[in-house]
Symmetry: C2
Amino acid sequence: MPRASPTPAAERRAHAVQALLDLARHTAPDQISTAAIAERMGVSHGALFRHFPSREALWAEAVTWATGELDTRLESLALPSPLEQVAALMACHATMLAENPGLVRMLFAELQRPATSLARETGKAFMQRFRRRLATLMVAAQAEGSLDPQLDPEEFAALLVATQQGLILQALAHDGFADLAEHSKRSVALFLRRGPGGVPATTPGE
Amino acid sequence: MPRASPTPAAERRAHAVQALLDLARHTAPDQISTAAIAERMGVSHGALFRHFPSREALWAEAVTWATGELDTRLESLALPSPLEQVAALMACHATMLAENPGLVRMLFAELQRPATSLARETGKAFMQRFRRRLATLMVAAQAEGSLDPQLDPEEFAALLVATQQGLILQALAHDGFADLAEHSKRSVALFLRRGPGGVPATTPGE
DNA sequence: AGGCTAAGTGAGTGATTGCTCACTCCAAGA
DNA sequence: TCTTGGAGTGAGCAATCACTCACTTAGCCT
């Protein structure tokens, strides 16, 4: 075995996170062994544990990195109207997850974990931030008159998020990540059809 | 160890399924060992494998039994109007799952499995039946004039199901199964607010 | 050049897992 | 009463896993 060239710890940690997310593309996170991660990194099994005290720590770092990445992209969006901003956030969320099924598998697995863990709390915190971001925009849209003022913004945002997560689960179940962004877009359009008598934004064909 | 009394195979198989679903209430299905199941049944580890050729077979039987039970209850409903029937189906679905978190964990775990398996296909088939049931009712509601005729029934049904699944995921993430049925009811009401200019069916406070 | 240190190695360890098997038990039918 | 076969047992196997450690390597600072 040729010896792997020494690499700064920070870099190796990032490599490990990437290796994990890559493997999670086609494998349930629970079934990914630390040995498999080391192999994908081109490093011995023991080397992995020089950089992470435990498997769980690596999992936590992966979720932290992933949610941070999502936050960064979401924050970079700035559309003129609140409702357009909502649509943009949802589209960005859907697109990024559709491109990284491994990330989806990681987040979903953590959210469903029965016992609490650092990774699970990080995932939940991200979800909450996302929901709050949407709720704030809903309030702005109502103030602007572009959204039914009788809707409860918090509840409406929660419902948008729930639908998005449901669509993601469907994508997971049917290996249909290709259509995720499109489905998400349609669902958002239907949710945000505005004003009384507004025509539903769904188009029957296609 | 006192010897377990001999029991007909069919009965023992049912016991095993129940033991698995019980354990899944507080544990991720992937982490439930066949030994733990046998122990909960009050039977030796080896005895379990007299009734199931493999762990996977038991998992498949559990999903088959669970979806069958869900189907039975859903078929027993018969409300006068299509839209009321939709609401009843969704409420029944939500209530039954809220009462059996173990069942939820099993179904979700199977749906997310990367490779296909008998259990996964059974779970997917149930979802599809449920969605179709709803879509058929949507068509009836449109014919009756109680639902916007411009909506695509298939897509609308898919969205209802996705939202329900998202709410279930939230319940899983927040240990909030107590509120699931209520949240589901509100989401259905919002989806089915009828006609142009209709007031959203949500009530802002509590 | 020489030495210090961060990083890599791979053999090992103990625990757990799914599954097998030779054997025991017991009840129902001949 | 004897036989037969379905059901239960528990020791044990082979594989896998997360994690450890004594040792090696190589790059940087002086």
